[in-house]
């Protein structure tokens, strides 16, 4: 961090030919070029890149080191100091083009940082609207109302609650204490029996002046197994989205490093970061900001493919317990859905499909999406009430 530390006096961009000029070391008089570059950094920050004073200073140092003479150098100096992941690159390119072609800041639409985790899919002409989804819901098997006043909130369908009951349910979800799955770790721990721990045995001998003593033992420890939650937020699942995202929040807070949450609908959005905040309501609001396709249609196959390509195959799904919360209403091709669930099952330790409608009386898995996916699903469970979510936790732990 030598650069950031000494940046204030270091950023002197003075060239005889005046191609780029800036702060001169001692005086600190800001001249045109530095102002332009700092403005560029701020524009990037406004566009959602993680640019703070440290990265801005690094950018100016890079400009200085390159004696930036042409746009190409400025482009690369900025890109390697101010972008931090591949998702940042399209934003960076757009801002670079707009800023240095003389357009004003205002012409760039500021966007939320977290929005960049969204994977856009090609538009389709048979895109469904929320209304169409609602209509579809009407077509689903008529559900016999089971809720009676005596029945506790525990077993009530989460989609059929009053506002007060929803608030109470939210509080009850926040109290869930997940016991999550573990796996063997490569890291070994001291134990009373097991393989000989050569290192500790030698160390004990050294302490004893070289006298051999009792051998020390070691055993493989356990690490949390990764849990990946994919929550369908399309129109037909809209009633369940809030409690399910709260459920995801509880899991993420419990094991922040071993839990990932995404929402699926017409797009894939990563909500892990938004849901990592302590307060459930703040976290939920942050997540809602990230999800562009709330109550939209469903293209499960395409979105799962995006997940597999971008995250799953790289490692996120490897050996993980993948939980899909969806009713299986698929607008796209069911072949693609089946193919992607099969791919997911090969990557993951196990695939759990949670369908809120499964808890309803007379439910039969007849929707095309479910039929296509079921052969590749390890556990198919209900998830319409708090009690079923508790059961789900058991399934996840044992998966």
């Amino acid at each position: 961090m030598r650069i950031a530390g000494g940046a204030a006096s270091d950023i002197g961009v003075n060239h005889a030919d005046g191609r780029a000029r800036g702060v001169d070391g001692a005086g600190g008089a800001v001249r045109d070029a530095t102002g332009v570059f700092v403005g560029f950094a701020r524009t990037l920050a406004a566009a959602g890149l993680p640019v703070g004073p440290g990265r801005t200073a690094a950018f100016l140092a890079a400009i200085h080191a390159l004696e930036a003479a042409n746009p190409r150098d400025v482009y690369w100096a900025g890109r390697c100091t101010m972008a931090a992941e591949p998702d940042d690159l399209p934003v960076y390119d757009a801002v670079f083009a707009a800023y240095f072609s003389g357009r004003t800041r205002n012409s760039l639409r500021p966007r939320q940082r977290t929005l960049q985790t969204t994977v856009p899919l090609p538009a389709r002409d048979d895109e469904t609207t929320p209304d169409a989804d609602a209509a579809d819901q009407q077509d689903s098997p008529i559900v016999r109302a089971r809720a009676t006043e005596k029945e506790s909130l525990q077993h009530r369908d989460m989609a059929r609650l009053t506002a007060e009951e929803r608030a109470e349910l939210a509080a009850m979800i926040a109290l869930l204490r997940p016991g999550l799955p573990t796996r063997r770790s490569r890291r070994r721990h001291a134990a009373n029996q097991g393989a000989i721990d050569r290192r500790r045995t030698m160390r004990a001998m050294l302490v004893a002046g070289g006298e051999p003593g009792r051998p020390a033992h070691q055993r493989a420890g356990r690490r949390p197994r990764r849990v990946v939650l994919l929550v369908d937020v399309s129109g037909s699942m809209a009633q369940y989205a809030d409690p399910l995202l709260r459920f995801a929040h509880v899991l993420i807070r419990h094991r922040p490093w071993a839990t990932e949450a995404f929402t699926i609908g017409t797009r894939l959005s990563r909500v892990t970061r938004a849901l990592a905040q302590r307060d459930p309501d703040t976290a939920l609001r942050a997540a809602n900001d990230v999800i562009p396709d709330f109550s939209g249609g469903t293209r499960l196959g395409e979105v799962l493919k995006a997940f597999n390509d971008r995250w799953g195959q790289r490692g996120t799904a490897h050996g993980a317990v993948v939980v899909i919360f969806s009713d299986g209403w698929e607008r796209g091709s069911c072949d693609l859905l089946a193919e992607q669930v099969a791919r997911l099952q090969r990557l993951a330790r196990s695939v759990v499909w949670v369908n809120p409608h499964k808890g309803r009386d007379g439910y039969l898995p007849v929707q095309a999406g479910i039929v296509a996916a079921l052969p590749y699903v390890d556990h198919f469970v209900a998830g319409h009430s708090l009690a079923t979510l508790e059961e789900l936790l058991e399934v996840i732990r044992g998966a």
């Binding site: 890079a62 080191a65 390159l66 190409r72 390697c80 992941e85 690490r223």
Partner: protein, 302 residues
């Protein structure tokens, strides 16, 4: 210039690019600029990109042009400081102690005891692991490979080392690098690396090379193959990368493929040769099936 950048014998990105080319690594403008900046600013280089785009070979090429050693630290789950930094050679320490005892070296009282103890924790018994080795090798290139595989605790530890370029061994004192090594970190993005670590680094996303560059790489690395074969392989691999495969082939796959074709004596790419050697470039059954059902001849059109 106020930058304590260490060894940087290159005046600008272009001369660095020429030096890299002389080693057989053909960089594009982005890689040359970023590598130049890493040396000029003394910042670690954080490389991400698809598997097989040449992240590791860039580090090797940088070591070669700096005329120094490439010191590699392969990360894995559970890696800790004793595997990354230094360790004491316990067996040899014990042996030493017993040897001293055997020759009766411990009869002289307290002064002797102190000397023996001191000897026990001297350089002789220190095992330098990659990070310490890099700090003590002037101008070294330290490759920290696949940082995303290590635990996040290890990242915090690395952050500390990379900001100081010094480590403290309690028995010996602080060991600081006279000239900081050039550090190259790679990640395959299986896990998000903490932003604090990224902030210290120059970030670069390594792309697949363009067609022309890939032809040049093939010719450069495999002088025995014909120009025509190099061009056909590069073009076919380019098509495969756009074919929506589970594992798009990288540069290492195109090199393997060209080598395989050459070993079979093929001077040109034809469907027969492709069918025989597809396993060198596609590593998933689904991918092979998809490409075969689309028709191998589609790969051949230039």
């Amino acid at each position: 210039m106020g930058h304590s950048g260490g060894v940087n014998p290159f005046a600008d990105p272009d001369s660095l690019a020429r030096a890299l080319e002389s080693t057989g690594y053909l960089p594009d403008a982005g890689i040359a600029t970023v590598a130049y900046l890493a040396q000029a600013l003394g910042r670690p280089l954080f490389l991400e990109g698809e598997a097989g785009v040449g992240k590791t070979s860039l580090a090797a090429a940088l070591a070669e042009i700096r005329g120094s050693e490439l010191i590699r630290l392969q990360c894995y789950e559970g890696i800790d400081a004793s595997q990354a930094l230094y360790d004491w050679d316990f067996p040899r320490q014990v042996l030493h102690l017993r040897a001293v005892e055997a020759v009766g070296g411990l009869t002289g009282g307290d002064a002797d005891l102190a000397a023996v103890e001191q000897a026990l924790y001297s350089e002789r018994f220190l095992l330098a692991r990659p990070i310490l080795a890099a700090l003590r090798t002037p101008g070294a290139v330290l490759l920290i490979d696949e940082i995303d595989r290590a635990d996040d605790e290890f990242e915090a530890f690395l952050l500390e080392v990379l900001s100081e370029f010094a480590v403290t061994v309690p028995e010996l004192g602080r060991i600081a690098a006279a000239t900081p090594p050039l550090v190259v970190l790679t990640s395959n993005r299986t896990r998000e690396v903490h932003d604090a670590l990224k902030r210290r680094c120059l970030y670069h996303w390594v792309e697949h090379p363009s067609l022309e560059r890939e032809v040049a790489i093939l010719k450069r690395r495999l002088p025995e193959i014909t120009e025509a074969l190099a061009r056909e392989v590069a073009s076919a691999v380019g098509k495969l990368r756009e074919a929506d495969l589970l594992k798009p082939p990288g540069v290492s796959e195109s090199l393997d493929w060209a080598r395989a074709l050459n070993a079979l004596g093929a001077a040109h790419l034809d469907t027969g040769a492709v069918a025989l050697t597809l396993g060198a470039v596609l590593k998933y059954r689904e991918d092979t099936a998809r490409v075969e059902s689309a028709g191998l001849e589609k790969l051949l059109a230039l």
